[in-house]
Amino acid sequence: MIRLTDTTLTHMPSAEKYDRAKIFRFCRLLYLVGVDYIEMPSMMYARIINTDCRPEEPELISPHKADAENNDGIDAGSFVLHIELDEQMQSFPEISKFVCRSCEDVTDARLINERQINDIREINRLRGTSRLSRVRVKGMDDILLKDYVQVFSQMQSYLGKEYEFCPQDSFGMATATAVEWANLGGTRLVTSFGGIGNCAPTEEVLMALRINKRHHLNHDMTVMPQLKLLVEEMTGVMFSPQKPILGSKIFRVEAGIHADGIEKDPYTYEPYEPGSVGTTRALVVGKHSGTKAIEIKLSQLQIPYFHDELLSLLRNVQAESMRIGRSLTDEEFIMIVRNTK
């Protein structure tokens, strides 16, 4: 069973400014899409839980029953706190997982010792860590350029099967590294939403595992657009319209051959249903459209037409698209239809 820890909240520099409700909502949405653990700085956890208010906290609930909108409670067992000193663990007796980069010799069973490995030559540094109960290996951005099967096997021999892996993304290969690691038997992955903080993007890893390993098929990824908006609001950074899973334009289709194929069966040109990630497909017309796409657009807009008009209409659409340097809006298309008739 693959378990996923999302570290987005540890990479938000201004996290202290977010209100409690927003952070809880973010956590609930992450649980809904299939994240198992959420990591945050201990200071953030202390603030949102607020020890003075604990008696008034609503009943804690199981994360997988979490309702993103209505329930304020969340299972403390699903949080992982990022700490700087091992003494900080004492302040949070309800938490069973802590991550620390600088607690090298602490063997507390609750503590995950994070080790940065930037080069495979550094792997020998992991040899002495078997006495630690839990280890997270972070980095290895370029491992796919090496003999990664052998390297992962070596890591397993040093750390056992239960170590966590957080591939980093300096070479744009973190998702692929995570997937290959899981294919080779790795079970504990560490990611961040949208790849914030140079991690493998949570949403890409979840979808890749869903498609390739049928992982977490029962989870609800339709809340992805809500998560995206929330993260954009919290970070002030907008995701690209082409961003895998999250981009606003990834299910727009214009090319004639694709429009025709999708009309017959969306599976021909889509890796997964747009609805499964809470979005919809949209047909736009322009330079790359074919007569079939024009026909579909006319039907969608409920405009009556004759088949012998389609070719001249297509030529006019293509010419206008090239003139303005983009696809046409529905209004522009309607205007061309009027002028062509």
Binding site: L145, G172, V179, R252, A255, R315
Partner: protein, 269 residues
């Protein structure tokens, strides 16, 4: 010394198919010249069957270019190939839908028909004196046995290399490597790899295809393309540069990608 491999840039074909983009003839020629200066091996310049403006752009690119190889993309159609021949590109690329969903659902044909049409179209282009490459559309969801049968036929017809396309971007790295390796070892046919970034793995899949023996990798500037885009040149070079000599400078690629971004302001944001 790093092994030499080659970039096939498809900014002007698959990249431009990104909804919202529509290059003018002048823009296409300008981008082609930027790509030639950058040092890519091949420019996939467009789809002649799209119409007069597209053909004009490809003809102009052929007149303007110096050394770069220029190819034109075609469906498996006599009419498409005739349009391409008129543009006199260096290479005629013929795309062949090879997965069962493409053959049976989209084309509403069968494997026998596909093999027959593939042979006819390649033979036609070869009779016209053209160099031909073949594209296996949706190869990552196709039966590898069928791909091998088709490849063996294409070897006999003189096709220079085949493009293994992960059309919907669902491949993962070890499979990309394994499938490319299988085609090369079973048929001797050189392979070009074409990735899409739907799961964020285009760059890694392309690297692993090279490790499986692929000679060519398809990229687009800024990773533009259908849905989540293609394998972005700058990002790919970041990783590939550690293993292979792709003939293109990372630094120059970044500059050219920024030039394209300026050219397309509004269209890709």
């Amino acid at each position: 010394m790093k092994e030499k491999r080659f970039i096939v840039d498809t900014t002007l074909r698959d990249g431009e198919q990104s909804p919202g983009l529509a290059f003018s003839v002048e823009q296409k020629v300008r981008i082609a010249m930027m790509l030639e200066d950058l040092g890519v091996y091949q420019i996939e310049a467009g789809i002649p069957a799209l119409g007069a403006a597209e053909k004009e752009a490809i003809i102009e690119i052929m007149h303007t270019k110096k050394h770069v190889t220029v190819s034109a993309w075609n469906r498996m159609s006599v009419s498409d190939i005739n349009h391409s021949v008129e543009c006199r590109p260096d290479i005629i690329h013929i795309s062949m839908p090879v997965s069962y969903v493409q053959i049976y659902t989209k084309l509403r044909k069968n494997k026998k028909w596909l093999l027959k049409m593939a042979v006819e179209c390649v033979a036609l282009a070869r009779e016209r004196g053209c160099r031909v490459t073949a594209g296996f559309e949706d190869a990552s969801r196709a039966d590898i046995g069928f791909l091998l049968t088709l490849t063996e036929q294409l070897v006999r017809l003189g096709v220079e290399y085949v493009r293994y396309a992960d059309t919907v971007g669902v491949l993962y790295p070890s499979r990309a490597q394994e499938n490319v390796r299988t085609i090369i070892s079973s048929t001797g046919m050189p392979v070009e790899f074409h990735a899409h970034n739907d799961l964020g793995m285009a760059s890694a899949n392309s690297i692993m295809a090279l490790r499986g023996g692929a000679k060519y990798v398809d990229c687009t500037l800024l990773g533009i393309g259908e849905r989540a885009g293609n394998c972005g040149l700058g990002r790919f070079l970041l990783a590939a540069d550690g293993l292979y000599d792709m003939g293109v400078s990372k630094k120059k690629a970044t500059v050219v990608e920024e030039q394209l971004r300026s050219l397309l302001t509004g269209s890709i944001s």
